[in-house]
Symmetry: C2
Subunit: 226 residues, 2 copies
């Protein structure tokens, strides 16, 4: 567990007393595939650090559209807003595979931050990076077309949950075309057509809820045409 903590972005650089204080105040939560950790709109009570499995962070718009913001894996965090009193969770997080997370009550994490400023700076760091990521993707959306956005989505998936195999990069998540459409901002029909074209070109191999990237390089080329 120490390795998980010091390897995380939020508790990186902690030692001795700080580390054990953090450790003592954590508790564990488990969720099976499809089960929610937190739900959008609820008061943000706890901060989480995923220890096993993968989770899916998504959001619904007022008009009912759903968007999939990103997947996270072991060592990544969510629900940081819990340290701030009065905030609601801005998104829902559910287990994409059987998962386990460490949780800290928000109030308590705030106290830890006061005692150990490193945590606070780390938190700023995390939020600043999230911000940059969001801004980059905001721009992507504004300027790229569907095929490029899908390529970017697959590459992100590969980075998050890809496993190198003989044939290529296998995505270790049960992922549907609907998920992909929510990631790339399109619909399942277009996803199907694009994937089929790519499969035909030998860039990917698709199956029911599964995805294998044969030539990630080709995807990068599609994502960033000179």
């Amino acid at each position: 567990m120490n390795a998980l903590l010091t390897g995380s972005r939020i508790f990186a650089g902690l030692e001795g007393a700080a580390l054990s204080a953090v450790q003592r105040s954590a508790h564990v939560r488990r969720a099976d595939e499809g089960q929610p950790f937190v739900s959008q709109g609820e008061p943000a009570l706890a901060f989480y650090l995923l220890s096993k499995g993968y989770a899916k962070i998504s959001q619904v718009t007022p008009d009912g559209h759903q968007t999939l913001i990103r997947y996270i894996g072991p060592g990544e965090e969510f629900g940081l807003v819990a340290v701030l009193s009065g905030f609601d969770y801005p998104a829902s997080v559910e287990a994409a595979t059987a998962s386990e997370a460490l949780a800290w009550e928000g109030e308590l994490l705030a106290q830890l931050m006061e005692r150990f400023p490193t945590i606070g700076f780390n938190a700023l760091h995390v939020l600043a990076e999230q911000n940059q990521d969001l801004q980059r993707r905001y721009n992507e959306l504004l300027t790229e077309r569907v095929e490029q956005r899908m390529a970017l989505a697959l590459l992100r998936l590969a980075r998050q949950a890809g496993r190198a195999t003989a044939g290529g990069t296998q995505i270790d998540l049960p992922i549907s075309h609907e998920d992909l459409s929510e990631m790339a901002g399109t619909n399942i029909y277009t996803v199907s057509r694009v994937l089929r074209r790519w499969a035909h070109d030998g860039i990917v191999e698709t199956g029911r809820m599964s995805l294998l990237l044969l030539r990630p390089g080709a995807l990068e080329h599609i994502a960033a045409p000179e």
Copy 2:
């Protein structure tokens, strides 16, 4: 200046010693219309709090497209990443009207945060809200069409830099169709056509670099159809 500080999100809740420490370490920077405060990609050395005027925060994508993220007014901040060492500014900020800002060296602000944890929490607060705003707009982009996005852009402008007059809400910024197109993620031709339609319907009044919202309610209706 005290009122500006305590009224800002980042220094809210400070008193006495803390407030004067903050105050002492600030210096002033001015910029005329069109002049930059900071540029995207540069090392983030200072944090800014706008005291007079309006500024435009924008970003360019690797492929050269420009997007206008938002306008800010007096009491709003930018360049918060400067407290974190090693970060570059993720966006450029330039004066939209003759402006003045208080500036703090990043290193120094970090020290203030250690001494006065309130500042750190406030900073988290600001970043968390920016995150939420970005996420909401990310979703907008993903799910709304151009006309709705333009309506949302105008409403945001009105909130930021709107002045209520007899005839409606005047936008107190020199704003071109190009700016609007960058805000709404479209092009100047479509902006022109939509604005003309709205002008015809008595919803807005447009001029060269000027904008008057006659019926903001109608825009809200366009932005959020039942």
